[in-house]
Amino acid sequence: MRQNIKFVRDGKTVELTNVDPNETLLDYLRLTEGSCGTKEGCGEGDCGACTVAVGSIQDGQLEYQAVNSCIQLLGMLDGKEVITVDDLSKGQDGLHPVQDAMLKHHGSQCGFCTPGIVMSLFTLYHTEKAADRNSINNQLAGNLCRCTGYRPIIDAALESCTGSAEDRFSESLEATTALLKKLDDGEDLFVGDEERFFAAPASISSLAQLYETHTDAIIVAGATDVGLWITKQLRDLPKIIHLGRVKCLDLIKDNGDEIIIGASATYAQALDSLTSIDPDVAEVIRRIGSTQVRASGTIGGNIANGSPIGDSPPLLIALDAKLTLQKGNKTREIDLEDFFVDYGKQDRVAGEFVSQVRIPKLAPSQTLRSYKISKRFDQDISAALAAFRFTHDNGIISEARIAYGGMAATPKRATETEKTLVGMDLNNSNDWQKAIAALELDFKPMSDMRASAEYRMDAAKGLLIKALHETSGIPTTNTRVIGIREAV
């Protein structure tokens, strides 16, 4: 068992023995290191001013991802490389190419979001594909700028992120890779004592054992939610168990007719596999949080925290996903929809953790449609999310699985609506009224700052109508302003 945290900064391994489980990476950078280039804009991972790049070995290769340092716990960086805006042109004659382009295109005004934007673009610069408007929009969705209106930043990205990285970090790629591989020691990590610790077990058995001993510990995967308990609710979380180092818990497996996603696989890691199910699945994942959030956040976490407004649960419920839970060495599998018992209550006992989710692919007779409704398209929390899986033959629906988020205290199936849809003719829209009306039996949504109950119901109905039209064959160019399938 290892009792210190190790990560790479500026080509050297940093070792810290005295790490509070609640300390954030941002506080470490600004208060301990005195690296003040990285800014705090919101403290909740929503503005991106604190964006830094984190390097890690993915499938043997060094990859950089943008993360929000304000809600990354310092211990989560174990085994990784951290790069901040202060490092980009350190010791260099000129600026980094993305900095150059930002300068040339007048990409900063007040400059406060700029370090985060530069770091987001830095990770885009280090991806192998040349950037286009879509990839830039996605990359920047988590970086708010209040001054420029983004146009010069987008131009800077188009010019500099060409898919071939040549900078001091690509030059030292091998050295950094070697350093990181050395840090991947397969040891359980435990910093602190029995009362207050940051732990990152290296195997599923260690995780199970530790969690059975400390059932009061908080399990953290990406900390995109738990981070806010610390920075916003100011809760003290004395015992943290991080999943990021657990071998095999991040597995992603395509079994031909189903996909298995391990609990610690991030959205970013799972995206490609999930895209193979349907473009609408990819679009829902794309609109969860931001690039920074998807680099840290996990589908396992999105399920396990039981939020009524998580975006992946209704989608996975419509796909008839199964959830595996583990306690000690015992595992059990349940229908995902049964996991969500009530608001704030899930079917999970003390010491038991989510280990994986199994997602069936679509049969040839099945059509999936899913939609997210929010005030802003990117990086917003849903007012409502709807997912429909219709099994149909010759225009007649034989089975419907429909789930909505944001419409009840949990992600929930529209069982009455499903029933009325069976046998319905997709080509006769007059026939649909009963099903649309049935949504009112299924849901009594509430009003909050995201939407009124009335709007949620109206939109829910509109989405059902849209899904039926699309399933009947109308192209989405005629039915959508966003997420057009034909463009994929």
Partner: protein, 778 residues
């Protein structure tokens, strides 16, 4: 590349001089992108610096019955807990009216009002401790909405009215009339750098306050008044802000005062940086308003009379509500001549945070009204809305006087709007769009081309003054300082360009220094778009004074006429001799010639008298126009902005790249205000959208792929402004009314001659509600 880049623009616009008119980089651009531009929270803290956090109650209005701070005081790291009793001087941080408490004293006026402040060894300890207070409030029923306030007859200031003719009678007799009421939402500034201040105590009674503020002089005054010391004892400094947008004009004062109070009480440096949620809960926003109006017009859509009432939610105190709401009235006409008009504004008091300045300063609300009126007339008469706008433009004699009596002398509306109409292909796109809407059952498109006309000058006359201080050093380098503050708008760069031009030296020889009240005193806030106009001119005068001395010296030393001394390219031409600028400055020192000077500018021709409603409030108007195309989804209310074309008038641009940055950024900020940015208060008056997770400003994908921005090819401001340029900070925000008009246009396609009811922001919810109302009538 997107359609128009500033580099392209810079190439097509010939610089006015060697330096002025060039697209120089923002002075801090390189530091921004390297992360070494220092904001207040980045300044190395002096040893022993303490940190503050505010404490407040969970009530909206009432009387503080008891305040138990025992647990706060004994929390880890806490050094002191400040309450109103600790204030040695006056407990007020208001800009003028004396009605904003630094720390609550007995009464709670809104949810988030600061009752105490924790001073602790760390920011986190202060924040944690602040939550341990036990506060009992005897709650009273809060006034949340303007309707609540009106029911109680509550106002922060008396109402105000412009009246010309008898509009009510004229409307009743008009061939056509419309009567309508709608709501205009407020807006959170969401500057990326939250409110922050650090106070460092000096010799007894002295205080240095670093503040992220648009108004260092007001910080100086507030702190001095709070401490009970003279203004001369307090210095306020601001190098840069991480955004402000009006939100740091009056709103920075409270946090500076608290930091200074903590420094005074403990004798240690103290810093107050608001957490984002606290910032959004505790600081004022753009005024939301209800707008009740009626108008009379003829068959061609030409107005005969307009009667409009703005019911403005000012919040719990006056703050800057007088100027803000006056400006709503000054711009309720936008670009249109109202032969008869009543423009009335009620400044309603509510138990919500006191609303404040926000880019446009009330003007945007006025223009949202005028544009809704134009759209409504067009729908009612089945006309193209652009034709209705054009027929109502200010024009020749008889149609050139505003409802407040100022003659519009610099009108370029017809030319500018016609040019944009051509270049954006308005008519052809209108036809294509009509065709699309006929055949598209679920998606509907809308198109609008809206003008703006925005008055430049503070409507509070005495604020139209600025000072500058220029030092030339013997090595030929120059320091420039002025009363304006840098919030990202590029003011420092523009002023430095002016000074470099004056001395004929390279821009990098001019060192820009932080705005500081001990360098240039008694300044106006950097607001009302006036920063470059006023400080640029003051700096030019300061540099000009030194230049005159250098000319005189050179003429004497080298026995030439003064006219034979010129400055360019770092060289002084003296007759047929060329002397390096740095040589002449050395000579000046040796010959005991002062190389330092102040400069002072007071905007001319401002004669507005608020009491008599007479005179001229503005030196000139800035113009622009925007064409927006949108698509709405009638099943969900979702909307995308598909294309934007902007043509904007900045006179002769001081810096085209910076000006285009202001136009693009201002437009996108305005678009956010009118579409995704929704402030939601619950029925207890508590703001529910107090973080970026719930309050949604535009992100990169919200701007259209097709985004074309051009500067109007101006012959120059007809007034004698700095290099004949025009102010550009605020006007572009209002270009975004074209987006709401386009949305209205799209919804209106659902049912002929029916005016859609739609409030702003046009969220998916508001759009769908409007769509359903239209469909229900079918």
């Amino acid at each position: 590349m997107l359609h128009k880049s500033p580099d392209k623009e810079a190439q097509t616009t010939k610089p006015l001089t060697d330096t002025v008119g060039k697209s120089n980089k923002h002075d801090s651009a390189e530091r921004h992108i390297k992360g070494n531009a220092l904001y207040i929270d980045d300044i190395r803290e002096p040893k022993g610096t303490l940190h503050l956090a505010p404490g407040y109650a969970q009530a909206t209005s009432g009387i503080i019955k008891s305040l138990d701070l025992t647990a706060v005081k004994s929390a880890p790291g806490v050094v002191a807990v400040l309450t109103a009793e600790d204030i040695p001087g006056i407990n007020d941080c208001s800009p003028a009216m004396g009605d904003d408490m630094i720390l609550a004293d007995g009464h709670i006026l809104f949810h988030g009002q600061v009752i105490f402040a924790v001073v602790a060894e760390s920011h986190l300890e202060a924040r944690k401790a602040a939550r341990f207070a036990k506060i009992e409030i005897e709650e009273t029923k809060p006034m949340v909405t303007v309707e609540d306030g009106i029911e109680q007859d509550a106002s922060v200031l008396p109402p105000y009215e412009f009246l010309r003719g008898s509009p009510k009678d004229t409307i009743s007799k008009a061939p056509h009339k419309i009567m309508d009421s709608f709501r205009i939402g407020g807006q959170e500034h969401f500057y990326l750098e939250g409110q922050v201040s650090m106070a460092i105590p000096g010799d007894e009674g002295e205080m240095l306050v670093h503040s992220s503020t648009q108004h260092p002089t007001e910080i100086q005054h507030t702190v001095a008044k709070m401490l009970g010391v003279s203004d001369a004892s307090v210095v306020c400094e601001c190098r840069r802000m991480g955004g402000a947008f009006g939100g740091k004009e009056s709103q920075a004062a409270q946090w500076s005062a608290l930091a200074a109070l903590a420094a005074h009480v403990t004798g240690r440096p103290a810093k107050m940086r608001l957490d984002r949620d606290d910032d959004m809960i505790m600081t004022g926003k753009r005024h939301d308003q209800r707008c009740d109006w009626q108008a009379g017009f003829d068959d061609k859509g030409k107005l005969s009379a307009v009667d409009v009432e703005f019911l403005s939610r000012c919040g719990c105190s006056a703050d800057l509500s007088l100027g803000v709401n006056d400006r709503t009235m000054f711009h309720a006409d936008n670009s249109y001549f109202y032969p008869e008009a009543r423009i009335f504004s009620r400044r309603v008091k509510t138990n919500t945070v006191s609303n404040t300045a926000f880019r446009g300063f009330g003007g945007p609300q006025g223009m949202v009204f005028s544009e809704r009126m134009m759209d409504s007339i067009a729908i009612k008469l089945s006309m193209d809305p652009l034709d209705v706008r054009k027929i109502n433009f200010y024009g020749e004699e008889g149609r050139d006087v505003t409802p407040f009596g100022m003659k519009v002398e610099d009108n370029i509306l017809d030319e500018l709007v016609s040019e944009l109409e051509q270049t954006c292909d308005y008519r052809k796109r209108r036809d294509a769009l009509n065709q699309f809407n006929k055949t598209s059952p679920f998606l509907k498109k809308g198109l609008a081309l809206n003008p703006i006309k925005f008055g430049i000058s503070f409507t509070l006359k005495h604020l139209n003054q600025a000072g500058a201080l220029v030092h030339v050093y013997t090595d030929g380098s120059v320091q420039v300082n002025h009363g304006g503050t840098e919030m990202g708008q590029g003011l420092y760069t523009k002023v430095a360009q002016v000074v470099a031009e004056e001395f004929g030296i390279d821009l990098d020889h001019v060192k820009i220094t932080a705005t500081k009240t001990d360098k240039v005193p008694n300044t106006a806030p950097t607001a009302a778009s006036s920063g470059s106009d006023m400080n640029g001119m003051a700096a030019k005068y300061a540099a000009g004074t030194i230049k005159d001395r250098l000319i005189e010296l050179a003429a004497t030393l080298y026995q030439v006429d003064k006219e034979a001394v010129t400055f360019a390219k770092n060289v002084v031409q003296v007759g047929d001799q060329e002397i390096p600028f740095s040589e002449l400055t050395k000579q000046a020192f040796l010959h005991r010639v002062s190389l330092s000077s102040t400069g002072y500018y007071a905007t001319p021709n401002i004669t507005w008298d608020r009491e008599t409603k007479d005179g001229r409030p503005f030196l000139y108007f800035a113009y622009g126009a925007c064409c927006a195309e949108v698509t709405i989804d009638t099943l969900t209310g979702e909307m995308t902005v598909d294309r934007i074309d902007i043509l904007h008038d900045v006179g002769k641009s001081l810096n085209p790249a910076i000006d285009i940055g202001q136009i693009e950024g201002g437009f996108v900020q305005g678009m956010g205000w009118l579409t995704t940015e929704e402030l939601v208060y619950d029925d207890q008056g508590r703001l529910r959208t107090h973080a970026p997770s719930t309050y949604k400003i535009p992100t990169a994908s919200d701007i259209p792929e097709d985004f074309r921005v051009n500067l109007w090819n101006s012959t120059g401001n007809r007034e004698e402004t700095i290099y004949r340029s025009k102010a550009v900070g605020e006007p572009p925000v209002m270009l975004a009314t074209a987006v709401t008009s386009a949305i209205t246009n799209a919804i209106a396609s659902l049912k002929p001659n029916t005016i859609p009811q739609i409030d702003t922001p046009a969220t998916p919810e508001n759009i769908l509600r409007s769509v359903k109302q239209m469909q229900a009538g079918n």
